[in-house]
Symmetry: C2
Subunit: 437 residues, 2 copies
């Protein structure tokens, strides 16, 4: 039996509904509290109780017995209106929510779960925010970021553009962590902005006391007020709540499945650290785009289909042929080492480039940069009109090629765009010998 | 004009051939030395001179002028026979070369480049080796590791098996670094060994004074003499020559395109450090297979075709359909976060599993472990008979699935193998909170 049904049975048999106070007994443990609604992202075999202490806990119902203590009512959302403390002296920030864990807020007063994230939810959960800025929040959509697509990127970029046009001094995007770095780099290419655009999320669902959502949001408000007018990712820098790192959107990657400090800058240090509401640039030698340096502009033209292919021993060349047959607009390869493929796939790659499909080489090492002059395998690719993109991340090369091939059909022009450092995505002065050991 | 032609012209115009003493003048620099043959892997626009100091240097011929100082003869390989100092008191080690940078040795006495690697070359280049063991070296093949295939893995495994059967107390595999970790994990599953099997390579071609080949080889000899009877990777632990790390073969990854300390253990610490010819276990709590704990056995049955697919926003589901249509034996997915895919590909994945193709989920985060119970996207995959393999690397899951699907056609049995920790490839007690920041 699937857990979902099991859970339903488990509660129905005992005639228990949301709002009732129950006692749950497991072999070595017992809990009493009010049964809550379950947020979408939590485990099917889990029920959530609001304890007297005010904390909510999730309990695995395996081997559990449940007993109704008293009848209750589904908690009603009766919330005080939020005083937004609007003031001319504060910056105007827009918080745009796209979904993910960060966008699910439990109201600790009523115990109700708000799967969609409204301005008021957010401000109630982190009332401190309004002391720091005039906050205007809205949900653009509400998806897990594994369901992001280039179409959603366009929608996000367009909303950001409108918000800035309407006077926002900084943008915060609440986003699932899974593909936040893809979105961040895609937005980097689609928007030139005079103000900061900060993506943030949470690794701990907000029904846990250990949620990192609030710290990340507070730090993002600071980043959005700063003079760093780039698309950045603002997330925990350590496992505790001591500080957040601000990563350049074209240079970051989710590197751990669950740790709060999962985001890592690759091939350069994080741009800044945010600690106690203070934004400190990590390396003052590193150039970044300053507030009002660029005019606002939007370019959401993306190619239809670009493939990202990781090389591995035994890969069949037919996979490349298929993308060629299907008229893909470009191919990004995650090669080995300095940017290599097996000789077995060279013929197919050569067919791709000879049919005017741009083929761009990156490295699955992630750190370092392609250099296809060193080995015969790399030189052969160069001779066949494949280009290496240095220290650009594969994920960034993918979003950039979608964008570049959306600007022109001419392969030389696409390559020219790919080889030009547009948003800090390639710059070997930053990556020179950079590594995390 | 391609560099290769340019270089040829460059030398021919001045009527210079290998063995001549030449003077090369560049804007701010001048070198005099004997022109050497160029190893295969070095840059086309580079010539190599043997200087009076005995060092060989590579010179970029861009903006260079060359002048013949005196005629010379192509250096003849007239080498003294090597005294292998065979003794009963030393362990018998086999060094098997598969190619890569490490297998190209320049003879510093004659200046000749030996692209293929023989026992004698090696021992002349690192005569210290014979003081530490009875060395028996042979070249199995000579390829760049980007050209490795499962067929070569089988050949390597079979040779290792024969060497151990013939009395080797330890094996060293000289291998290109690009795909060394794929080979290491493939060998881990194909062989049970009573003795250490150590893969090593070099990040700097041996025509550079800064080559790391010798340090890595010396450390590998120590590892091969140790009691760690696993398949391991032995490479520099730092940028200098201070020590080498010994990584479990199922847990390592090339993480930098060019640094000497490119190999990183993911989700566990390196097993041991090798410094001053001493092998020190890093964490005595970590269990490893000891010398003579296992009987020698070989199982090179591999499935024909397994695909490794990285997920990204905008990936087309048709790519999965194609592998199903082509009757692949299994699919490894590099999902996002805890092991997720977009809803857009679920139908195709479900078709794969319903047609009895095992689909195994890993995470492109690399660090951490899959947990597909947290979000609806993961649960949907579990319901559709996809399995997550916890803290196993995608590359290791790929070699393991090739092996598992080579043992049986029954999907449940394949999944059973995938979920069993065979060679330290999955073990959350090791990865618990392990991260490199
Ligand atoms: N899988 C979720 C995780 C999160 O919300 O951070 C997502 O990326 O949307
Ligand atoms: N591309 C080369 C690099 C090396 O030799 O390390 C190889 O993997 O074979």
């Amino acid at each position: 039996m699937a857990y979902e049904e099991y859970l339903k049975d488990f509660l129905e048999i005992s005639n228990i509904t949301v709002g009732d106070t129950v006692k749950v007994t497991k072999p070595h443990i017992e809990h009493e509290g009010m049964l809550l609604e379950k947020p979408d992202y939590s485990n099917e075999n889990t029920i959530i109780l609001k304890l007297d202490s005010g904390y909510n806990i999730g309990i695995d119902i395996k081997d559990a017995k449940i007993e109704k203590i008293s009848e209750g009512k589904k908690p009603q959302i009766e919330l005080d209106p939020v005083d937004k403390k609007i003031s001319d002296k504060k910056k105007n920030l827009s918080i745009l929510s796209t979904g993910g864990t960060v966008a699910s807020v439990i109201d600790y007063k009523t115990g109700a779960v708000h799967p969609a994230f409204t301005a008021d939810d957010l401000l109630r959960a982190t009332p401190e925010l309004v002391d720091y800025a005039n906050i205007n929040a809205k949900a653009i959509f509400n998806i897990l970021s594994e369901n992001m697509t280039p179409e959603y990127w366009k929608k996000t970029a367009t909303t950001i553009y409108d918000e800035i046009n309407n006077g926002a001094d900084g943008i915060i995007i609440a986003h699932g962590t899974d593909t936040m770095h893809y979105t961040a780099s895609a937005l980097s290419f689609m928007i030139d902005s005079p103000v900061p655009i900060v993506l943030t999320g949470a690794q701990r669902s907000s029904d846990r006391p250990s949620s990192d959502a609030f710290t990340n949001l507070m730090a993002s408000v600071n980043a959005a007020k700063s003079d760093i007018a780039e698309v950045t990712i603002c997330m925990h820098g350590t496992e505790d709540d001591s500080y957040c790192d601000l990563h350049r959107g074209t240079r970051a990657r989710k590197m751990h499945t669950s740790r709060r400090d999962t985001f890592t800058s690759i091939n350069m240090n994080p741009l800044a650290r945010i600690e106690n509401n203070k934004v400190t640039i990590n390396d003052t030698q590193v150039k970044y785009t300053k507030r009002n340096e660029k005019e606002l502009s939007l370019n959401t033209n993306l190619a239809d289909k670009v493939a990202l292919i990781k090389m591995y021993p035994g890969i069949s060349p037919e996979i490349i042929d298929i993308y060629v047959d299907k008229n893909y607009d470009g191919i990004v390869i995650e090669g080995t080492g300095l940017g290599h493929c097996s000789d077995d796939v060279i013929t197919s790659i050569t067919r791709a480039t000879s049919e005017d499909i741009p083929v761009v080489m990156t490295s699955q090492c992630l750190f370092g940069r392609t250099n296809m002059n060193v080995y015969s395998s790399g030189r052969r690719l160069l001779q066949n009109n494949v280009i290496g993109v240095g220290d650009m991340l594969p994920e960034t090369a993918y979003t950039k090629l979608l964008w570049a091939a959306g600007q022109t059909d001419n392969v030389s022009e696409i390559y020219e765009i790919m080889k030009t450092n547009l948003k800090g995505e390639m710059d070997t002065t930053l990556s020179q010998n950079y590594f995390i050991k």
